[in-house]
């Protein structure tokens, strides 16, 4: 599997002064990056720092990049994915590309199926034999004839990896492979990665979980706003130093000091259960309290919040301001003073092809219109314009279509949607996903202000430092259960991470 001509330690990839712009935005600004054979080089940075863009350049997805790339000592120009693949570059994306309705064996040989005797037919026996050979080589223990959809997420990842590792692969990119894995699976994945490393394959490991880097990486490169902040050997840097490099300023600057003390209980959740997803979830939320829910992707944290908001059915009881809420739906919860920002902005947030004004005003149309349902365009525009000012949404044009705004501004518009409504309880699911750091700081300040004004906030985030610094109290969710309650703010991020993956006594 290793390239015959490379020895461990030889440079196999050198990217110099890589530049890539999207319209007027410079996603990569003269980025240098290199990789040696048998090395695991971690690439870290905030959302939007340019990690994925850099790797997409390497995967041949952008033909119009600037700068030079040398692979195995030869200068190359990567213009299409097939060429990158032929040069021995494999990429394992975070979004799995396995096909659930096919078996493991079929997935492994997708596009390279052995032909049967009759034209257009498939030699199933050869298919199984070759798939088995691939898995044996990698020492993966996977059932060949099982449909991929019925495997656990972690094992689907293994299928994805096995699919990406062709015979001639010499350079592998892992794009946040642990984002949705639990503790045991992370350990198993690390073993696989180390085994690949031992074969002399160069590995780029993208992550924003800093805590796991010492376990796996040799070197770390930090990207911020499309530039390289620095490259360090893992031995001579601390996690806190890395997070400082990543964010570009002290955390204390981004998180204003706490001012509020939680008051009366306003939301009471008891025994919330959805079979197979989460069970027996109970918690209270107080006036002016920021309650953090931490957990891995897939731990059930989003599903719990959706069930409270009535977006999914679940058994169990919810009480808001002392009154039980039966047959919850988003509309009913809204009427009772609960709002929720969804994690997937594109799918669940943006009202596509509509103006910012409608996107902001949608939850208060009943208040803006008169008794007969009349709603003048000026009314809606003015209401939206006020929120655009308050949230500092750019550009300041209520008539713009929502999808033409940047991610951060879209998020502010959707936050504004709920602020118009002035709910008592606001659930924020990944409120800072995919937005720039300046907007993040704005959102942190907003969350603090809302809590200070007596709102109850439930905050869900993959960025553990957000929860650790914002929340008054943290619930750790693992495999659909609340396994631990930790005090905030100022909780140790590393301890929180350990609790999430189920290490220690968690």
């Amino acid at each position: 599997m290793t390239g015959a001509e490379t020895q461990p330690g030889d440079a196999i990839l050198r990217m110099e002064a890589i530049v890539k712009a999207f319209q007027s935005v410079r996603a990569l600004d003269r980025v240098d990056f290199d990789l040696r054979a048998g090395e695991i080089h971690a690439l870290v940075g905030e959302n939007g720092a340019g990690k994925s863009t850099l790797m997409n350049v390497l995967a041949g997805r952008f033909a119009d990049y600037g700068g030079r790339i040398a692979l195995f000592g030869r200068e190359v120009r990567l213009t299409n994915p097939r060429q990158a693949l032929a040069l021995g570059i494999g990429v394992i994306y975070q979004e799995l590309s396995v096909l659930g309705n096919l078996t493991v064996a079929e997935n492994l040989l997708l596009g390279h199926e052995p032909a049967g005797r009759l034209p257009g037919t498939l030699d199933r026996r050869a298919l199984a034999a070759r798939a088995k050979a691939i898995l044996d080589e990698l020492e993966f223990d996977l059932p060949l004839e099982t449909k991929v959809a019925s495997l656990s997420h972690a094992r689907q990842c293994l299928v994805e990896i096995a699919h990406a590792i062709r015979k001639d692969v010499r350079l592998l990119v892992f794009d946040e492979p642990t984002a949705s894995l639990g503790g045991d699976d992370v350990g198993r994945l690390f073993e696989v990665i180390r085994r690949l490393k031992a074969r002399g394959i160069g590995i780029v490991y993208i992550s924003h979980r800093l805590a796991e880097l010492p376990l796996i990486a040799d070197r770390v490169t930090v990207l911020r706003d499309g530039r390289v902040v620095g490259t360090r050997g893992i031995a001579d840097c601390k996690v806190s130093a890395l997070s400082h490099m990543m964010l570009g300023r002290e955390l204390t600057e981004m998180f204003p000091p706490k001012r509020n003390t939680p008051g009366e209980v306003i939301l009471k959740v008891r025994g919330l259960t959805r079979p197979g997803v989460f069970r027996d979830v109970s918690f209270d939320l107080r006036e002016g309290e920021i309650l953090g829910i931490a957990g891995l992707v897939g731990s059930g944290r989003t599903e719990i919040a959706r069930a409270v908001f009535g977006a999914d059915r679940a058994a169990g009881r919810c009480e808001c301001l002392g009154r039980p809420m039966r047959r919850r739906s988003p509309g009913r919860c809204m009427a009772r003073g609960i709002g929720m920002i969804q994690e997937n902005r594109k799918r669940d947030g943006n009202i596509t092809d509509s103006s910012v004004a409608l996107n902001v005003g949608i939850s208060v149309l009943d208040r803006l219109s008169n008794a007969a349902g009349f709603l003048g365009p000026a009314r809606l525009r003015q209401s939206a314009a006020r929120m655009i000012d308050r949230m500092d949404i750019r550009p300041r044009d209520p008539a713009r279509l929502i999808q033409t705004l940047s991610g951060g501004n879209q998020q502010k518009a959707i936050l504004g949607r709920w602020l118009c409504r002035d709910p008592k309880v606001l659930i924020l699911d990944e409120p800072t996903q995919g937005i720039d750091i300046g907007t993040k700081a704005q959102i942190y300040r907003l969350v603090m202000d809302l809590a200070a004004a007596g709102k109850g906030i439930i905050l869900i985030s993959s960025e553990l430092f957000e929860i650790a610094n914002l929340a008054d109290r943290i619930l750790v969710v693992r495999e659909g259960r609340i396994v631990r309650e930790m005090p905030g703010p100022g909780t140790d991020v590393d301890a929180l991470f350990t609790a999430c993956i189920g290490g220690g006594n968690g």
């Binding site: 009202i351 949608i362 709603l375 300041r396």
Partner: protein
């Protein structure tokens, strides 16, 4: 537009027309060119007789239903059953008038029209309930109700045609179609009742879709139903209501056009749904909904009607006409798709 107290993010924003405006503009340009050419080439096109009594009066009933269809399609739905719904409504209108013989003329007609409207709304609401509360795909729902409603019309007419509207009501009732109102007091320039009704339906629809809370919800549901639901909108009710509105417009069209012949046939209005849907699509309301609207539909309706009017005038033989109709729809939508594609590609690089 981006002026603010602080320097804003670089916004190289030149005014760019939306996709719908591009398509509607294309259609409008095509329409004007066609009219100009016909005005020069034929002596008959640019006459009051042709434009008003013929072209617009024929366009009116399609237009009335297209208003309702615009609601359904902006919300992301689809209604194939409008032809059958209109047929059932026309049968209901005639049967109601027969049942009301002996009542004062205006009372009878008013009640019959109300009953017809109720029938249309009910049929539309049935479609809406299937689509939004049961969750059957709109295409499948309205494909089946297209057959079911047609069958109902057959049963109500005992297999074909109703008796004529009773003599006592006939003359007055037929005014709904044949009536003319002098324009500016001139006998030479008169407007027909169907056109007036269309203008009324169009104005009310425009008001509801653009200037009410419900109208905004319709756009929101078409833009992203899931997001609208999560923002607290009762999306099921909104969707169901659009179908009910569509049914109501079918009833209005049926009431008027039954006055033309004073009878109702179970085999009428075949293919009406296609003309109506074509008008909405050609105007620029996309199949997925979320944008477009009534003014777009008006432009699409006029283009298709003008072509319909011109085909015989330019001597296009009947057997070729469907090819022309079909190609026009395809070309207009293809131009739109290509324009979108060009812009999306431009954005990627």
């Amino acid at each position: 537009m981006t002026a603010g107290p602080r320097p804003t993010v670089p916004s190289p924003r030149r005014w760019r027309p939306s996709f719908q405006l591009i398509q509607a503009g294309t259609v409008l340009a095509l329409l004007l060119v066609l009219c100009a050419v016909s005005a020069v080439q034929t002596k008959t096109f640019l006459t009051w007789q042709n434009l008003v009594y013929n072209l617009l009066t024929n366009a009116a009933y399609v237009g009335i239903i297209a208003c309702g269809m615009t609601f359904v399609m902006v919300a992301g739905g689809f209604d194939l059953s409008v032809g059958s719904t209109t047929t059932v409504c026309s049968v209901v209108a005639v049967l109601a008038l027969q049942a009301l013989t002996g009542q004062p003329v205006w009372v009878a007609i008013a009640v019959a029209v109300l009953v017809t409207g109720a029938a249309g709304t009910l049929l539309g609401a049935f479609n809406g309930a299937c689509v939004s509360y049961v969750g059957v795909n709109p295409f499948v729902t309205t494909l089946s109700t297209m057959l079911v409603f047609r069958g109902i019309a057959l049963i109500m007419t005992h297999g074909g045609q109703t008796e004529s509207v009773p003599l006592a009501l006939k003359n007055t009732f037929s005014q709904l179609y044949w009536g003319k109102v002098p324009l500016l007091g001139s006998e030479a320039y008169q407007i027909t009742v169907p056109i007036l009704v269309f203008v009324g339906v169009f104005a009310v629809s425009l008001y509801v879709l653009r200037l009410t809370r419900f109208g905004h919800y319709v756009y929101a549901v078409g833009g992203n139903e899931n997001a609208a639901w999560l923002a607290g909108v009762n999306t099921s009710l909104v969707k169901a209501a659009t179908y009910a509105i569509c049914g109501l417009t079918c009833a209005v069209a049926a009431a008027i056009y039954t006055g033309m012949s004073n009878t109702a046939q179970a085999a009428s209005y075949y293919g009406l749904e296609l003309v109506v849907i074509a008008s909405v699509i050609v105007g620029g309301t996309p199949l997925g909904g979320g944008s477009g609207g009534l003014l777009f539909t008006l432009v699409g309706l006029l283009l298709l009607s003008v072509i319909e009017n011109l085909l015989p005038q330019f001597g296009v033989q009947e057997e070729y006409r469907n090819i022309v109709r079909g190609l026009i729809i395809l070309v207009v939508v293809a131009v739109d798709v290509l324009a979108r594609g060009a812009r999306t590609r431009a954005r990627r690089t």
